[in-house]
Amino acid sequence: MTSQRIWGLITFKVYAELKAESNRTYAGYLWWVFEPLLFMAVYYFVFGVLFGRNTEDFVPFLLVGVTIWHWIQSSISHSASAISQNRPIISQVVVPKYVFPTVAFINNSLKFLVIVGLLLFFLVFYGFVPTERWFGLVPVLGAASLFVLGSSFLVSAVIPLVPDLKILLDNGLRAMMFMSGIFFDIANLGQQWQDLLRLNPVAVIVEQARLILLRNEGPYFYDLAYVSAVGLVLLILGATLLKLFDHQYAKAPW
């Protein structure tokens, strides 16, 4: 298949899966807006109203972290099952396997873009003044995309062959969530812990996004370069494994 054909396949599969998914519910595409609104409302109610942690803008702080984490986590876990879910296809036609995690990544990213829009809307509603610095979100999300796509490739390549790793992945993601400073500011930790946690690209991504949106600061080049570099390594590793194991996936009995 030529790269143009593959891109045609990827985009149509993205469209097809999103449509199929929305047709399963009555509200359909409206869930793209309702669902994030719901979970934002829950966080707002629990932390803003119930715990009264409105001080130091805790709710906006939390929502930036939670939405970004939601995107990263759902892209990676969907990619873990991307190849096994398309087994009927893989067992009948020759198709490069990176198509499947790429489709999962694009699907989740499109939904995430809607959420980013809602998040920015919420921030303005909350009282933050949008500045041109907010465009700094573009390179941050660009670097983050490289990391998410790379992780998705790697996970999609390995998990169908060693399904046991799925259990480790679920727990690993949970651990990663707690180590990414979603619920707390890693800048409040001791210096050695900060240095350690900032090795985690997700922590860096979340921190950079918060700096831009909430502190009118950044993004910092070296942080983005670090995230991009890790992402690139994961991407190359994942793509290599997908190619290396290309014929193994059709053999898997599940």
Binding site: M1, R5, P88, Q92, V93, H247, K251
Partner: protein
């Protein structure tokens, strides 16, 4: 026949062996437990129709997947000329919530067509499948006969220079089975190259130029259709 006169085969199998095992098996250095194909060798020449015959579990479907490139031989080699080879796969990747038309595009793309070609095929598919207004209804609402009509039409118009057919000649309800069988037979008799797997002696007698008899995962006999089928029937 055709093959004997043509100097260069399109596809050439030499001592091909393959076995399904746990996917991680080779990973951990374990031996696979079940051997599907042990030792298969034959050539396919341009324009001919090669029939593959053998009992259940002889490894016929696995063999087609190996030729198509979906699976890779564990031992031996398969060499292919620079042609597009595909299995006549029905309803590949079809999603119940998409319309017939959308599934036709998706199916075409998966079978290797460009988006333009897949869209161009829509008119042909619409006409051949005779689904009429149903073509714009969700695939999940189709009867099994209608599903077969769409699946066949998509695969038929997406088929490549070399077509690998697994057992199915005609599908669907009675009328469509006659129509699709005729279409496939026409495809076989034109100079398309076909590898046809079947355990139906009559089908192969009618369509194949040559027959390869596979038994217990190995090439048992190979040669003229009449000779091999006679020997097969006698076994």
């Amino acid at each position: 026949m055709v093959g004997a006169n043509s100097p260069k085969p399109l596809i050439s199998l030499r001592h091909v062996g393959f076995s399904y095992g746990k996917p991680g098996a080779s990973f951990w250095g374990r031996r696979a437990e079940h051997s599907a194909i042990r030792d298969i060798s034959f050539d396919v020449y341009p324009g001919e129709t090669v029939g593959i015959i053998g009992g259940n579990g002889a490894g016929k479907t696995t063999l087609l997947k190996l030729i198509a490139g979906v699976l890779k031989p564990a031992v031996g080699t398969i060499t292919r000329a620079d042609v597009r080879i595909s299995m006549l796969s029905l309803q590949v990747g079809f999603l119940p919530h998409l319309t017939g038309r959308e599934n036709a595009i998706l199916g075409g793309l998966l079978l290797g067509l460009s988006k333009e070609q897949a869209k161009k095929n829509l008119a042909l598919i619409e006409e051949f499948s005779e689904l009429q207004a149903f073509i714009d209804e969700p695939f999940g609402t189709y009867s099994s006969g209608m599903k077969a009509r769409l699946g066949f039409s998509v695969a038929y118009f997406a088929s490549n220079e070399v077509v690998l057919i697994d057992e199915v000649l005609g599908v669907g309800d009675r009328d469509f089975r006659i129509k699709s069988t005729a279409a496939i037979k026409e495809m076989i008799t034109t100079n398309r190259t076909v590898v046809l797997v079947s355990h139906n002696v009559a089908t192969l007698r009618e369509t194949a130029n040559r027959v390869v008899w596979i038994s217990e995962g190995a090439t048992h006999m190979e040669g003229d259709t009449a000779d091999i089928l006679e020997a097969y029937a006698a076994s």
